[in-house]
């Protein structure tokens, strides 16, 4: 094989031995699994690859796989940055991931049941009461309420990273209706079109069956006494940045995509307004936050939700997917207790490791954090989308002091973790017209229903497009890659 440096597309590929590079090993040789794929990429000239890349972007644009940015006078439509070099996960490696994320989702479900019922785990001193009582995401109205078939987190998104030691670690659990699955499927379609020649040489699991499985899961948690449940997805509307995903999933499942105003509640039953009058709705996959689903039960100013929906839910007449109040369990402070939570409910050791976490709510740990901020990532426990994160080695002295003051003012709100070295993956950088290593993580999607569980064999590999950046969230300028799980 040619020396990679000679290949124009890889001439800017700079190794950093502090990170695990998924394409090259420490000796700068192509890893076996990527050899066939790399051979294909090495055949492209820069001009050819640029053309291929442009065509792929154009197909996203034409298919409307976009989000809109609202300016003062105009609306701009943008595609999510997408990279054509797919990430490959071997079967053995995937088996561990799949078992691990399923284990976590099940444990979290049992934890949620317990938290909203007897709170045994707290009474036995395994998880401190403060974590629950001080959590903004604990919904008192959910106490003692039995969700249909006992399922809270029907859909879980688990974010993983591959560390310098070559092992996967869980970065966080997302069980408040995680997004991104439509891009998994969109990316796959784009890569199939662009790289069909090499696709044949890898025996890859398909990802397109997600919708069918989600519908089965939704139907399995129907309210009592319903034979053929009517399922819908509720969206905040076309202006929501995830609207494409909402409409995509509705289409995949062949169910209605509703807005709050399409539904109403009468005598604690939920109905949709159709051209022939009201029709009862049984299962709602809601893509609206807890506090916005029902202005009568939560935020009265919400116009996105449906008045009376929570009351219908309390009566067991409708199922909400995911259940309200799941946020209490995907809080970054609860995350640190996951090994104990898994052990407590499943009597198993955790399959996927956590990143070590320091709680600023504990005095000893807080003083360690304050002394070592330059080596740590400090995160607020209840923010999402990568907001409020400080990465220690990127901060100036003044900034470090500022972070210290913020932590001291509200220790409960912060945790800290060692700066993890996310693995790097070849990513096409348009400015340099070549591939460069960029940090990636992996979001997996797990579904739980009545007597049914499913893990999407693939996932969203999110890539931080700026050199050296470790934050991969799309709201922070991240892109994504197709992810192949081999059979």
């Amino acid at each position: 094989m040619k020396n990679t440096i000679e290949l124009p597309l890889f001439s800017a590929y700079k190794f950093d031995s502090n990170f695990y590079d998924e394409l090259f090993n420490k000796n700068k040789e192509i890893r076996d699994i990527y050899k066939t794929l790399f051979k294909l990429f090495s055949q492209y000239s820069v001009t050819e690859f640029n053309a291929l890349n442009e065509r792929a972007k154009e197909s996203f644009f034409n298919l409307g796989i976009t989000f809109q940015v609202y300016g003062e006078n105009s609306v701009q439509e943008k595609i999510f940055p997408f990279d054509l070099f797919p990430r490959i996960i071997e079967q053995k490696e995937w088996d561990t991931i799949e078992k691990g994320v399923l284990q976590r989702s099940k444990a979290l479900n049992l934890f949620l049941w317990d938290v909203y019922h007897d709170q045994k785990i707290i009474k036995q001193g395994i998880v401190p009461i403060e974590l629950i009582s001080s959590s903004e995401n604990f919904i008192t109205k959910m106490k003692g309420l039995d969700p249909p078939e006992g399922v809270y987190n029907h859909i879980s998104g688990t974010d993983l990273i591959k560390h310098a030691d070559g092992n996967y670690y869980v970065l966080e659990d997302n069980i408040r209706c995680p997004s991104g699955v439509s891009y998994v499927i969109g990316n796959r379609t784009a890569v199939k079109h662009a790289l069909f020649g090499v696709f044949n040489k890898y025996n890859t699991h398909r990802v397109v069956d997600y919708g069918a499985n989600l519908l089965e899961i939704m139907e399995s948690v129907k309210p009592k006494g319903v034979d053929n449940p009517v399922c819908v997805i509720i969206t905040p509307g076309v202006y929501n940045s995830a609207y494409y995903e909402h409409s995509f999933l509705a289409k995949q499942m062949g169910i209605d995509l509703v807005e709050g105003r399409d539904l109403f509640v009468e005598n604690d039953f939920v109905y949709k307004r159709t051209i022939y009058g009201p029709q009862k709705v049984d299962v709602i996959y809601r893509r609206i936050d807890d506090l916005f689903i029902d202005p009568l039960a939560f935020k009265p100013e919400s116009v996105l939700g449906v008045p009376g929906l929570f009351s219908a839910y309390q009566k067991g007449n409708v199922c909400l997917v995911n259940a309200p109040g799941t946020g209490v369990a995907d809080d970054k402070a609860i995350y640190t207790y996951m090994p104990e939570i898994i052990k407590y409910y499943l009597d198993e050791d955790q399959i996927l490791s956590n990143v070590h976490t320091y709680h600023c709510s504990r005095e000893k740990e807080m003083s360690y954090v304050l002394e070592n901020i330059d080596k740590l990532v400090v995160k607020p426990v209840d923010e999402s989308g990568g907001y409020g994160i400080s990465i220690g080695n990127k901060l100036t002295k003044e900034e470090i002091q500022k972070v210290k003051d913020t932590i001291k003012a509200n220790p409960r709100k912060y945790i800290a973790q060692p700066i993890m070295s996310l693995s790097t993956h070849p990513t096409y950088i348009e400015e340099t017209e070549s591939f460069e290593p960029r940090h990636v993580d992996l979001r997996t999607f797990t579904l739980l229903g009545k007597d049914k569980e499913y893990v999407l064999k693939g996932g969203l590999s999110r890539v931080a497009l700026r050199r050296g950046n470790l934050v991969v969230n799309s709201s922070q300028g991240g892109g994504s890659k197709d992810t192949w799980v081999l059979k």
Binding site: L63, G64, S179, P236, V258, R261, D262, R273, T274
Partner: protein
């Protein structure tokens, strides 16, 4: 089907059809005037006024001097004008986007791609030398979209609703085009009242605006006159763009929706049936007596049918969703 989405589909159909008629009217009127037989019909001012009258019901004061590039830009690509082609097509797109879970990927892709082409069309090129290219692109695109509607989506209520939108709008636009050209012909006649003029070019233009010139020639085998043209465009059941054909199809598709409902004398379905029956036994001689009155009455009836459809099928509470709601939703991404 959700009432809100049905409304979106209905208006998607209407705006697609509207875009086509606006583009075709602009194209045919402008280009046929270039070599029209007399000074008036050749004048830029006359054709620009005709265009403004058709697209916006606007009768412009005679002392106002119209600027050609401004009128063309306003009708074609001015996003601030509610009557422009770009506004109309963008509304079709927005309605398709709000119901994209229900329509086929192929249909949405076409609408989306065409919307991008329209939005990115250079206004300078358009007014200087792109008029033909742009308007032809619209008419080709709308044909492509209609074929995707027919060929890729389920022929159920959703389809019936899109078709209702398309044919109701077609009936309205064809009526407006007839109105506009009759008015042009009347102006021409009054200007040259002392001489006998051949006004067949006005009727040829009218037929071309409605894609019906060739077929009209085939049917009558004679140069078009006012009487034959109106007869063909209003009453010919075999002409796919005649008012009678549109009414027949509106009736056919409303029946698909009204199947579960008992007809009330105040329902959209009843009004459509009644109007269609009137046309079954109408003669061109009846219309000729008072063409203007007939057109006014027809436009009113079609508008009432549109309102009734809204009332019978699409009613939902006022839209609370606005752009700011996106900010209030702190969805975990």
């Amino acid at each position: 089907m959700l009432a809100r989405v049905a409304n979106n589909l209905f208006w998607m159909g209407r705006y697609i059809e509207r875009s086509e008629h606006l583009a075709r009217y602009l194209n045919v009127n402008y280009f046929s005037s270039l070599d029209a037989p007399n000074e008036l019909s050749q004048s830029r001012d006359f054709v620009l006024r005709s265009i403004m009258y058709m697209v916006n019901d606007e009768i412009i004061e005679s002392d106002i001097k119209l600027k050609e590039e401004e009128v063309l830009f306003n009708v074609g690509l001015n996003t601030e004008k509610p009557y422009s082609i770009i506004t109309s097509f963008n509304s079709a797109y927005e309605n398709a986007r709000s119901s994209r879970d229900l329509i086929s990927t192929e249909l949405f892709e076409s609408i989306n791609r065409i919307n991008h082409s329209i939005k990115n069309y250079n206004p300078d090129t358009f007014v200087k030398n792109g008029l033909y290219d742009f308007t032809s692109m619209i008419t080709k695109s709308t044909a492509e979209i209609r074929s995707k509607i027919k060929g890729t989506i389920l022929h159920d209520e959703a389809y019936a609703i899109i078709m209702l939108g398309i044919y109701l709008e077609r009936a309205l636009q064809v009526t407006r085009i007839i109105n506009s050209k009759c008015s042009d012909a009347a102006v021409e006649k009054s200007k040259y009242k002392d001489t006998v003029i051949d006004d067949s070019h006005q009727w040829s233009t009218l037929l071309k605006c409605v894609f019906s010139y060739d077929m009209m020639r085939r049917f009558y085998k004679k140069t078009p006159t006012k009487k034959t043209t109106l007869e063909f465009l209003i009453l010919n059941s075999d002409c796919p763009r005649s008012i009678k054909s549109s009414l027949f199809l509106i009736k056919k598709y409303i029946q698909k929706l009204a199947v579960n409902q008992k007809g009330s004398t105040n329902s959209a379905s009843f009004l459509i049936g009644k109007l269609h029956c009137e046309f079954e036994y109408k003669l061109i001689e009846d219309i000729e007596k008072d063409t203007e009155g007939f057109i006014r009455d027809l436009i009113n009836k079609l508008i009432i049918i549109g309102l009734k459809l809204d009332d019978n099928y699409f009613k939902i509470p006022e839209a609370p969703v606005s752009k700011t709601n996106n900010i209030s939703s702190t969805q975990k991404q």
